[in-house]
Symmetry: C4
Subunit: 185 residues, 4 copies
């Protein structure tokens, strides 16, 4: 699925286009430019988080597709819906890098949850009755691949709940995706 790889690569690279200097006021002194560059930290952070989350989704997608031996029409459509969500991610990333209130937090976490679940849905569909996957894959690995895609969406789903208590706390909880991404393969 070279096409999928390209969509992931484009979406992940377009994230950086959101980072721009406010600009337009002619020459800036060193100090003013330093302040402007530092003041963009919420955008840097949103870029880094979205990049690593999409990167994790891609690593999982890439690895799981190595065990998928055949495609059918429905699998291609599930994959297309996943790519639709991946291509959409630059927008919630732009929203969360601009606003940090409850709405922005929930919107971002919601899209990430859906994308993660759709990434898992490819495997769940393909592994269902072993129809489309490599028959030699051992049972434990197959079960592992069924559960692994739930980890990242669970963190984001939890953060939606947290956002109703405190939006800042919800966003801090996203930091849990980093150790999770390093632990799951």
């Amino acid at each position: 699925m070279f096409f999928s790889d390209a969509v992931f690569a484009i979406a992940i690279t377009l994230l950086a286009l959101e980072i721009r200097l406010p600009g337009g006021e002619g020459a800036l002194t060193d100090d003013e430019l330093s302040r402007q560059l530092l003041s963009l930290w919420p955008k840097y952070l949103a870029f880094v988080i979205s990049f690593l989350v999409i990167g994790t989704f891609w690593l999982g997608h890439h690895r799981r597709f190595r065990y998928i031996r055949r495609y059918d029409r429905r699998l291609l459509w599930i994959n297309l819906v996943l790519l639709l969500l991946v291509a959409f991610i630059p927008f919630p990333t732009a929203v969360i890098s601009e606003y940090t209130n409850r709405t922005a937090t929930i919107f971002y976490a919601l899209i990430m949850t859906l994308t993660g679940l759709m990434s898992g849905a490819i495997w769940w569909y393909a592994a269902w009755h072993d129809r489309l996957i490599d028959p030699n894959l051992d049972r434990r690995h197959r079960r592992y691949e069924c559960l692994a895609p739930l980890v990242i969406p669970s963190i984001f789903l939890l953060s939606i709940g947290l956002a109703f208590i405190n939006a800042d706390l919800a966003r801090y909880s996203w930091a849990l995706t980093a150790p999770a991404a390093l632990l799951i393969r």
Copy 2:
């Protein structure tokens, strides 16, 4: 044809760049941001429709090229014109997500009709006298591939006619592409 895949992937991902918050008014409350995010629904809808239609064109393109065994110069040029139309789709998508009048509806449907027909033209040219396709492809499948690319353009062509009666009705008729895309392979 890796190059074609890349153009499809880029065009489909650039669609999301059209979705932007009106923005620029400083901090928004949760309610204001919710309203802004909800008010973007015509853009979300245009994104989803264009994404799925381009996705359908790509699935057909990808599948048909599996049976094409040889290229000649003209086939490469027909393919290049198809890619030109695919690369152009983000513009009518931007127009229809901004305006919903008759002109915008016809413009969008026209580009989609042309893109679909050009997607079919690749097969019609390649299968003509069986010159460039796999000779072992059975007759029924070959005929199927001749007719399948007509389905989506027919719906958009019909909607151009409908637009002269009622532009809203014409746009609603595009919903027919969803079951059509699921039925044809």
Copy 3:
């Protein structure tokens, strides 16, 4: 050289991003939108010309690389300079779609001439003393591949001369690239 294909594909698809409605004045009537869409014809034309010229360069690049058997460091650098020019093309395309005076005409034709020559330089370098190309390639074909990359740059170089007499005439002369592209392979 998958990387080259991707740069060509991205540059060719980004061309369409230049096409935008002037926009911003709220709801437009059907007639106003029609007029706006029609008034963009210089942008459509610039998009189509640049797309087809880049497409022709890519077809040549792709075909010639089939006969190139080995790479050396210098060939990779010549290719990188070609890709630099290809990635730059969206800018002169934007200029020519905005301005139609002598400067814009010469600027566009100059970049196209350089890109075409650099595309040829890859072959001239690789075929020099037959060092990097397929040794079984017959002499006539090899000579053909040496001359073919000169056709498009010659037209653009000629148009730079014409632009000093009449800028409109110079731009009309670019239409010669269409039959040229269909004749050369």
Copy 4:
């Protein structure tokens, strides 16, 4: 690693999007447009430098990955962090093409240093105890590949020091990357 190639290709092509005419003042005479095109030289220069530096990083990345036989999870993560930095480069390029003071110079050189070091880190990690690389690679070549990725970052690191004395001098020192890139493979 097709995904890496695509991210490099997209980042390198997006660099050109930063080049825009100030525009918006209606028809320009030939002289005014010439002056505007010439006045963009800092943007052209930033584009060319960033393009060639990313190109050099890609050539190194591509070559080194030919000797890497196996991946593990950590290698994929180091690669993902490299791609994050590559995808980020269009932003410092935009900054340096707008401002030429000390802050902009240091910011650009810092990102380039980090990207170059991360590009080397892939090899250092893979070649450590020969775990992931081709065991037949001779020792001299392996050592060469360990040192080569240090050249470009050293130049940029040196320029950060120079920037505290004179920002212009620091930027001139970047010209050293051109002969360095031609000498190292």
